[in-house]
């Protein structure tokens, strides 16, 4: 009786062990089979680069429009990493922009979407910058309440070398109440680069009248002084060119010619000079000397 019981008990343990072992074997087999399938039979998946029209999506999504916009936004962000899927960079840029366009049509307040589609995918080539500008200008029609959009348009124009347009859009951006102050103070530099320092000067004079904060006013006055000096020096340089038929090599030549009594002090500290390549008067940008003195 005892032997029987022992026999059945051992048989039960053996059966249990064999069952567990077979379970483990099946698991190993499935895992190995899965690896085999992946290594030998994994077919390249074809991606479908299609974005449904936003007008139809608006109908279908109902009040989940914003969520749908978020999904297309995510798709657009991921699309930025998919440049390798396209032979042509232009096609890739189109694909990214289509996703963001859909996202922004459904939810125009996704501000970063304008940034990705209008700035991130844009490089130095003029056609890409044009694409970025066009996208952002359409975006401005959808969302006219964010300062960033005209700012980014201005940035694109700056990159394209169209400084007047850059200044125009910076001005639009700076008109928003929540826009940062540097947008206002950067505009004169654009006018200067656009060969219209007079406009920059006029802008700064107008700005000085409108600003009440003493700290900001002080900074504007410094910039105004710097700009006035630039305008004066460039005017004298032009006069020199008319008199002698060639541009002066340095500012000292203007003093020698009697056109200038002395080189004005550069409020930014490093001094004015004439750039040999462009013939423009420039200065090394640093901290204004008046501010440095007050800090000391």
């Amino acid at each position: 009786m005892v032997h029987c019981a022992a026999y059945f008990f051992k048989k039960r343990i053996l059966n249990s062990f064999l069952l567990n072992l077979s379970g483990l074997a099946i698991f190993v087999f499935i895992t190995a089979g899965s690896c085999l399938l992946e290594n030998n039979f994994l077919f390249e998946k074809r991606k479908i680069f299609y974005v449904p029209p936003a007008n139809y999506l608006k109908v279908v999504c109902g009040s989940f429009r914003s969520l749908c916009a978020d999904l297309f936004y995510i798709r657009g962000v991921l699309a930025i990493t998919e440049s390798g899927e396209f032979k042509n960079r232009g096609d890739w840029a189109d694909w990214v922009q289509k996703n963001f366009e859909t996202a922004l049509t459904l939810d125009p307040k996704l501000t970063q979407g304008y940034f990705f589609a209008g700035i991130v995918i844009v490089r130095d080539k003029p056609e890409e910058i044009k694409k970025g500008i066009s996208f952002l200008e359409n975006g401005l029609k959808l969302n006219s309440s964010d300062w960033q959009i005209p700012y980014w348009i201005g940035l694109n124009y700056y990159q394209a070398g169209n400084f007047l347009k850059a200044a125009e859009y910076y001005q639009k951006a700076s008109a928003f109440s929540d826009a940062p102050q540097y947008l206002k103070s950067n505009q004169p530099a654009f006018y200067y680069k656009a060969n219209r320092p007079d406009l920059g000067l006029a802008f700064l004079e107008g700005l000085a009248h409108s600003v009440k904060d003493p700290e900001q006013l002080k900074w504007i006055e410094i910039k105004l002084k710097w700009f006035e000096n630039i305008v004066e020096l460039e005017g004298k340089s032009e006069q020199f060119k008319r008199l002698y038929g060639y541009s002066p090599l340095n500012l000292e030549k203007l003093i020698e010619a009697g056109l200038l009594k002395e080189i004005p002090a550069d409020p930014f500290g490093s001094g004015y000079y004439i750039d040999k390549d462009s013939g423009r008067v420039k200065s090394k940008v640093g901290k204004p000397t008046s501010l440095e003195k007050s800090e000391k």
């Binding site: 608006k58 109908v59 279908v60 999504c61 109902g62 009040s63 989940f64 429009r65 914003s66 969520l67 978020d70 999904l71 936004y73 995510i74 962000v77 991921l78 939810d107 307040k109 996704l110 501000t111 970063q112 979407g113 940034f115 990705f116």
Partner: protein, 254 residues
């Protein structure tokens, strides 16, 4: 009479929140919150907004499935299990149907509060919390109260729970897409058709008007008069649906 109605509503509420479906939906929502966090991480630059938006959408969809499914199938289960006959031997039909509606409104509120707590916790952890999202949840409650009303009407009307459930769900989805569809349809319609479509649009609940999710996620809210009028509209429509459900239920033989 109020006590009898509340007794039915408490029975439905207690049964509803202890049901496996309620727990399943809660678990589903917890996993959905994890998905929202992932979506937030993928949305570079707009993480907080996407997290808020996805969370609100998840609350709405999960609560919709919960209340519609739960109400419809509990109604049919009570019929099948003959407990309805016992209830009707205790309470009048009006009291029963009123209690059922209030019970499910309570379940909806309970779930929304739970979901809002979990959702707010996640938003706090990811620096995305703004108090305006709670007002967005109130808008969801008004929409869902209308969905509950429709579920009640269809449960009373149809003998099949599947048809009642599908009708409730599809009506909700249709009213979501009603306004943009109307705009498209009206473009090619003649005067008579315009009147018909507009009547249909205004007869059906305008759920798009109660939805403030897209504003709440940006921290913008409509003014107080909107909330007052939306509350009147939502609860008034729900009352209208209760009236229809009651009319059908009084005439039905079980």
């Amino acid at each position: 009479m109020i006590k009898k109605i509340l007794a039915v509503s408490f029975l439905n509420f207690k049964q509803g929140i202890r049901d496996k479906l309620f727990l399943s939906v809660v678990f589903f929502f917890v996993f959905f919150l994890a998905l929202c966090v992932l979506l937030g991480k993928l949305s570079v630059g707009e993480s907080e907004k996407v997290l808020r938006n996805a969370g609100l959408a998840g609350i709405e969809l999960s609560c919709l499935i919960l209340v519609v499914f739960s109400l419809v199938f509990s109604f049919y289960r009570e019929k099948e299990s003959r407990i309805l006959e016992i209830y009707l031997s205790y309470f009048s039909r009006s009291q029963y149907i009123s209690g059922k509606l209030i019970g499910y409104l309570l379940i909806c509120i309970f779930y929304l509060v739970l979901a809002a707590l979990g959702y707010s916790l996640i938003l706090f952890l990811y620096n995305g919390f703004i108090w305006q999202v709670t007002a967005g949840i109130y808008g969801l409650f008004l929409k869902l109260s209308i969905a509950i009303g429709f579920s009640l009407v269809f449960s009373c009307l149809f003998s099949s729970p599947t048809i009642a459930f599908l009708c409730s769900l599809f009506l909700y989805l249709t009213t979501e897409a009603a306004y943009p569809s109307l705009k498209i349809i009206l473009q090619g319609a003649n005067q008579f058709q315009i009147i018909i479509y507009k009547c249909l649009y205004y007869l059906l609940p305008n759920l798009d008007k109660l939805d403030i999710k897209s504003q709440a996620v940006y921290g913008e809210l409509p003014n107080l008069s909107f909330f007052i009028s939306a509350s009147f509209y939502g609860l008034g429509y729900c009352l209208f649906l209760w009236f229809i459900a009651r009319l059908i239920f009084l005439r039905k033989e079980y």
